[in-house]
Symmetry: C2
Subunit: 399 residues, 2 copies
Amino acid sequence: MGTVERIQAVADKIKGFRDRGDDIVVVVSAMSGETNRLIAMADQMQGRPTPREMDVLVSTGEQVTIALLSMALNERGCPARSYTGGQVRIRTDNSHMKARIKKIDEEHMRADLTAGRVVVVAGFQGMDEEGNITTLGRGGSDTTAVALAAALKADECQIYTDVDGVYTTDPRVVDNARRLPRITFEEMLEMASLGSKILQIRSVEFAGKYNVPLRVLHSFQEGPGTLITFEDDNEMEDPLISGIAFNRDEAKLTVKGVPDIPGVASKILGPISRANIEVDMIIQNVAVDKTTDFTFTVHRNDFQHSMEVLQETAKELGARETLGDNKIAKVSIVGVGMRSHAGVASTMFDALAAEGINIQVISTSEIKISVVIAEKYLELAVRALHSAFELDQITSDTE
Amino acid sequence: MGTVERIQAVADKIKGFRDRGDDIVVVVSAMSGETNRLIAMADQMQGRPTPREMDVLVSTGEQVTIALLSMALNERGCPARSYTGGQVRIRTDNSHMKARIKKIDEEHMRADLTAGRVVVVAGFQGMDEEGNITTLGRGGSDTTAVALAAALKADECQIYTDVDGVYTTDPRVVDNARRLPRITFEEMLEMASLGSKILQIRSVEFAGKYNVPLRVLHSFQEGPGTLITFEDDNEMEDPLISGIAFNRDEAKLTVKGVPDIPGVASKILGPISRANIEVDMIIQNVAVDKTTDFTFTVHRNDFQHSMEVLQETAKELGARETLGDNKIAKVSIVGVGMRSHAGVASTMFDALAAEGINIQVISTSEIKISVVIAEKYLELAVRALHSAFELDQITSDTE
């Protein structure tokens, strides 16, 4: 939700759906800038604002929007009623600022829908068992929408964003990147965690868990968007690969010549984790001469700190040397199709080799293959892979 | 509540009370300008904003303040917890934008007080039986404070304002007007309804009904303020008069030579009331020659409209003539002391006569005498009465 004008535009859109006969529950976020304005005031009040009070404060952002949108709908002859998280009875645990939804009481909403009213719910917030206001953490409105769709067994949960769907890769890197008409939850999770910041990962997990079909749409452009749904066993042929994700936010650290004894991995990663540094990829190859090499990646901002911690550990373990590189990029191909098709990996490696790109690290999961390469080759690699897997051939208009 | 800085100052003040050992429940209003900002947005959304949604919207103003004040208190090592109207369970009827409090559940507040916490409650708002957010109407925070004080049987309900107490009359008119150390509820009601806009009338009524001692204090100046309380039977001598109220917002209308038959008053005032015009004073003298003269006052803004309505009625009733005057002022002396003292009225009339001020209309209640005079004599009359009743002799420092 942006400005007053944007709320008006959203009301027009909802009116259109109602006129076509749909029952609608809308979940809204705060107007743009509002949450930051509130947080800035809190920071003036208290060095580290009390989480309970922070939730009381920031939840007003969405409360303003639900009231304004309901008014705009009523003005259009489209009866609407607003609900805060507490009012719709979105029960959460009591972890302020990062609460999790436990239960939703959909009784009020059903009564309103039956009465022909649009239900407008404040996203991102709930209430714990004792009646304290909680929030799901920033961006949690997507999660609210999915949870309500699940509780109401909605036909579809539509998430309006600033993109018109999920693409085979970033169109800023590959000109002929295509919008995917559909993608599976698993693929979306792999794409999301690798840097496609379209949806909150938690909302996708939630949608998958509760079988809620999700559709990513553009807020103010027409179009079918991308449907996030289940693997369809009846499809004649799944596409091998759905997309290519990448990021350049990581740094790579390697410790060489570590004694290959049980528990060495946790001896290396324990101090990193205790320093509150999150680790992404972890790679250890088979031992040679009773020593092994151990590599992991961290966020680039944590590179310096991680190196210091690692050098300390390496000394204690009697390792040969430590190496670090923060000029790397991670490129991943994602697709449920690779489960049933051999040769995906070799197509990937061939394509990179043909461009003279050296692969530094490889890591795989069931539906994803990731490689680490020098950062300077990132765009080249993504384009080569996009072409090798014929992603520009995907027809975006189906579905 | 003004700005962020004002919230800090309020937190300092509360901390001072806590350090002295008081248990404290604070009721706060929205930051200055916030309610108007929200209303302006609502007006952009809907021609006549839905009252239910208006309440959802404007109640966020106080919600922001309770969170910020609680943070500021926590920062000062003074544990605090915020409550919205719904959370403290201020149950109201379902009259949105002008709801009335029906019941308060003080259980949560008591538990917090016992635990040594300051309870910070959003003023002006509540929740109806179905969980809808309601508001008490603008300025309703005073009423919330009194209602909570009554529910908790508080020692005193302190209302912080932009004046340091209730004065014998407006200090802008009479230089030596004195702050009253105490005043009764009845006197305060008469003073308030006559133009001393210090407290909401409803909050004073409420305080009187539930025996809550009210104290009017200045937000940022030290001082004992004015205690609004019950008539003290043990006082050796009540002051005859506590104060002089006045206003110049009224206009006077008279219809002369109306047939003196039963029901004529309602025939005259019925059309005025149906035109949504509020009437203040109503005076009818005994009939002479089977006709009577009938006078009433209305707000000056309604003068023109009232005259038109009255002329229509006068024609129907066969009255002799209608007169109107919007250059009048009303001056009233107020005091519970006049109950037991004869001669108050004659002191008043003598003082005005000594200044050559003609009294146009007189109206009395048990603790008030009001006269209507020409507007140009207003200041002169107030000063003459202030002096005649020796109000400049009141010692403000008692209590």
